[in-house]
Amino acid sequence: MGDTVYELLALGLRYVFVLLAALMLLRVVLTMWADKRSYQQALRQLPDAGLVGEVVDLSNGRGQPLPREGLIGSGRSCDIRIGKLHRREMEFAFRPGLGLKLIPLRRRHQALLDEVPLNRADAYALHGTILDIRGTRLRFRLFAGLDLPQRQLVHQLPTEEGLYDLADDALSQLMDPGAGLPPAIPPDPMLEMTWQHAPLPPELLSPPDSATPKSRRRARREEEV
């Protein structure tokens, strides 16, 4: 191709290149705009998006939305702000299938999860769990629909086979008191202490005071009705 023809072609195509790049950018901007609108629409339909429930301060009944992960404390950057606590008291993160993992950041501040000292690595809060930190009682209320195990209160409930064993033991005790019993063991003070920290929770004595929290959308719809 001759130089002049090429020159003419290249000079003419300069405008085409700019036009095509501008067209692509325009389409990108329009797509971004459409994405933004559809995201906002989705959020309007799902006001609880990103949340897993709420935390209620039992001293004043005030609830705060509970995100998937964050920090409990009195600091400005905390997701759950409770005035009486330390600036950064505890971390939490929702783990599907397990519950809300709680990680104390202040080892010296004794926290109780359903009356059990919170010092294990696998401490998970479930719906209705009560957390005591420095005199503040917080109740976790997790949304229905989350992948959560059944709440096992304080102790592992005996299985069906375990119940049969217990019944057998009780029956043999009645038939022959004293037989088959192990020799008396002096009471372990640590064991007693642990037991004192874990009395029967109120949920077992009375039915739960509230059901699973409804989503805000559902609550609003009910209000409207």
Binding site: R14, V18, L25, V28, F143, A144
Partner: protein, 412 residues
Amino acid sequence: MRTRVQGDSRRLTLPGMLFFFLGFLLLGLQTPDYRAFMLAVLVPLAFYLVTAALLRLLSADRVLLCLVNFLCALGILALYRLNPARGLGQTFNYAVGLLGMVGCMLLVRFWQRFRWTLPLIALAALVLMALPLMFGTVKNGAKAWVSLLGVSFQPSEIVKVAMVLVMAFLLSRRMVLLALAFAGVCLGLLFLQRDLGTALLYYAISLVLVYVSTGSLTFLALGTLGAGAGAVLGYQMNTYVQNRVSIWQNPWQDPYGIAWQVVQSLVAMVNAGPWGTGLGLGNARTIPEVETDFIFAAVFHEFGLVFGILVILIYLLIFLRGVGVARRARTRFHTLLALGCSCFIALQTFVIIGGNINLIPLTGVTLPFMSYGGTSLVSSLCIMGLLQGVANANEHGLEEDQLMALMGEEDG
């Protein structure tokens, strides 16, 4: 859904496909070269197929994907125009980078055991960073390159990806001191290599991430003061830095000596006018380091001011989209990761384009996605993969929420 994805990818990529078809066709007509005609078919096809395939198979963010692919293909076109061998080499780098991008995307989306892998990644990053001090070769005043088994690479470019990952993870766990220690060691090693441009990027990203993570104005103020003190100290200690600053203040004081690069870049851009000299008609090869640091000046020279502004807008849109991804993220780790990735790309672009147009002193960093260089392109695409992974996780999270709402209503 599938029809929508197909439609979207076609609608977004069609102008770009036409752009690269015409561009390579024009270059092929200039000096009849079968490779240019081949690229005229292959590059638009790859542009469409990569965008459509990643959209369909991995639900990647279509806007980010389209913009990044456009910039990569523009880099290949500009490099082919300057040096056909470099252009062809860049297509290979692009293919490797795409694999890296997909890998990083899957890592963020599916890998859950960062607690155990991140210390290893951090350790590997520090070892890589220390390599140039032992086996490095000096290039452009910085001892930042390593040749291993015949392959030459810049470890600080690879460590960029690890750095964003590690900093985001540590800060998401509120291990601020550990994060600062990691960033400090990286910066120290970069200073020893005299790679000040990359050190500037690392410092700025660390500062942004620490500020976003802690919300502490004290950190920000201390960091800014530290940057100021470091700049003054660097200026006093390095004649290299003094030269760069004096070039920035007045490039015409020594146009044939130390300011040759910047002056040539400015002249090329001024000669371009609003519409450029025309593809294949410019003489951007007179600019030193035109394939790496000054690729923007070369594109500006042949495509013009209007197109140059459009390129800057593309980078701006990538940054805005990245910040949007960070805002929608479900976890702190994802938020910090997305923000770190977006800021890395944006800051690097600002630093090098600012240096090209003499807005700030010139530093030797590459223009993301466009400059020639395997390490640079692969690391930039990996960073984009991390961002895509977070975007993908956000989509998945929203779907989970919708499902949860449905199940909640059924339970209620």
